[in-house]
């Protein structure tokens, strides 16, 4: 890396009032041709480019982004990272990501503020208790840390939770993954962008893809707002807009794009030092390092690309939050926003080749893609470089919707998708 961040570079730059820091990544114009082009400059796309360059030696590549780096869902999620998924295929995928998270700041020389503060999932009825216990066992068989907690243990781990048996949805227990936690989502995009740029990857912002040029069953390049770019390999990581890109290439995807909302409160002193999620009442909450409560709501049930979402969804989530945490009844909310998430029928992602040679899709992450960012990038890079999936993402191919071999994580993954 050209300019390593360290205590010494910090001191050195302090003498020039921090005005002479080198740009973290360049702002190049697109070349005529690349070995591969990644469509979408979010966390997953940048991670893909990083691992293509680092592990597969493909440095003559570009990332094209219609807005700015990390301005989409990367900067809109609630930053939760966990790997306590039910099925073997998902457990392999998400725990692969979690293992990379554990060393990511060191690897990127960029502090992604990964904090293993634990993620707790609550049970509110007898079926929840059974499901969560089953998932705990499944996790442990897959080598993922998971413990089941009684109501008293939940209260001990997070004292502000209302565990009264007299509330509408009482807390009957919960699971805890201690290795899980949060990270600073912007830093993940910036860290991967800086790392990829240092290896020669062109990161081209404000460059929207307008068309995909095909020659028979193979891709030839992309039409963009900055002109035509020739390439034999296109990796699409466009999240909510995946179907739009697929349409340009003339293929169909099993996706629906819907608004998912989140909101943050005014900043307060530390009050909740873990992440608590609740499937049955659909509310999840954590506290950022700035002190804001970060609250995740649900998706709307209609297709929309508006990044807004309906008010009743937020209202329902806050009702649940207030019943579980009466201490927050006087908190003021600062901001609310929506992101467009692409949801698969089985609530599992697609990291796959397509029927068109040289066209790859990484999509369908739905409401839970952030946690997988490093693993997704690593496995997608492997798939693009070798034209074959890695064994960890083989189950997540597009063809599963034809074969019927779905990875059904709807509800089973401890939070509603």
């Amino acid at each position: 890396m050209k300019n390593k961040y360290s205590i010494f570079s910090l001191i050195k730059n302090a003498f020039s009032y921090h005005e002479n820091w080198e740009k973290a990544w360049k702002d190049p114009s697109p070349k005529k041709e690349y070995d591969a082009v990644i469509v979408g400059g979010g966390g997953h796309g940048l991670a893909t480019a990083y691992y293509l360059a680092k592990k597969h030696g493909m440095t003559n590549i570009a990332v094209v982004e219609k807005g700015w780096i990390g301005g989409g869902n990367t900067g809109r999620n609630t930053t939760i990272i966990r790997s306590n998924y039910l099925w073997d295929a998902s457990a392999g995928l998400y725990d692969h990501a979690l293992k990379i998270w554990e060393g990511l700041s060191q690897e990127l020389n960029y502090n992604v503020m990964f904090s293993q503060r634990g993620v707790m999932n609550l049970a509110h009825n007898l079926q929840d208790v059974r499901d969560l216990k089953r998932r705990t066992h499944a996790n442990r068989l897959n080598g993922i840390d998971a413990v089941y907690l009684s109501t008293e243990e939940v209260k001990k781990f997070c004292p502000i939770i209302n565990t009264s048996p007299n509330i509408r949805y009482p807390v009957l227990g919960g699971t805890l993954q201690r290795r899980a936690g949060t990270a600073r989502h912007d830093a993940v995009a910036w860290g991967y962008a800086r790392g990829a740029d240092a290896m020669g990857v062109d990161i081209i912002q404000n460059c929207e893809v307008k068309g995909i040029k095909r020659n028979g069953d193979a891709v030839e390049g992309i039409e963009t707002t900055k002109g035509f770019i020739k390439t034999k390999k296109i990796g699409v990581v466009a999240a909510g807009h995946s179907s739009v890109i697929a349409n340009m290439a003339g293929i169909r995807l099993p996706l629906e794009s819907k608004p998912l909302q989140a909101l943050v409160s005014e900043p307060v002193k530390p009050i909740i030092d873990t992440v608590v999620m609740s499937n049955a009442v659909h509310a999840y909450i954590s506290q950022s390092d700035k002190g804001e409560l970060v609250i995740g709501a649900g998706t709307d049930d209609y297709v929309s690309y508006t990044q807004k979402g309906s008010h009743d969804i937020v209202e329902g989530t806050l009702n649940a939050i207030l019943e579980l945490y009466p201490i927050f009844s006087r908190m003021k909310m600062l901001r609310q926003w929506g992101g467009i998430v692409d949801i698969c029928p089985d609530a599992s992602p697609i990291i796959s080749k397509t029927s068109i040679k040289g066209l790859y899709f990484n999509c369908g992450w739905g409401t839970g893609g952030f946690k997988a960012t490093p693993g997704s990038g690593d496995l997608f890079a492997h798939t693009i470089a070798n034209d074959e999936p890695h064994k960890l993402n083989a189950a997540f191919n597009i063809n599963r919707f034809v074969s019927g071999d779905l990875v059904d994580e709807h509800g089973a993954a401890a939070v509603a998708h």
Binding site: H241, S243, R252, L253, Y302, V303, T306, D312
Partner: protein, 91 residues
């Protein structure tokens, strides 16, 4: 959030309704003859359009009747509402 003009009840808040997804997906006449690809197409593949979409809605907290709607998914503007069985308007 928007207001929907239910063809049976008139204007109501969208939160009274349940979205039913893409409209005019025809159920296969001979399901036993379908190939796996055709099943996948019918069950899972969706247009997921950014722009004018034809879709089904149900007035779940009202008359509970199904109807069709044409909506621009890029700005949630409703272009037309029509009853089940009626010919879809061209927008």
């Amino acid at each position: 959030m928007f207001v929907i003009n239910c063809p049976y009840c008139g204007e109501r808040e969208q939160s009274e309704f349940k979205a039913g997804g893409e409209a005019h997906i025809v159920r296969p006449k001979q399901p036993t003859e379908l190939s796996d690809d055709e099943w996948a197409e019918y069950l899972f593949m969706r247009k997921n359009i950014k722009g004018i979409q034809y879709e089904r809605w149900n007035h779940a907290h009202g008359c509970r009747k199904w109807f069709n709607m044409v909506r621009d998914t890029s700005n949630d503007e409703i272009k037309a509402v029509y009853k089940m069985g009626e010919k879809p308007p061209t927008i």
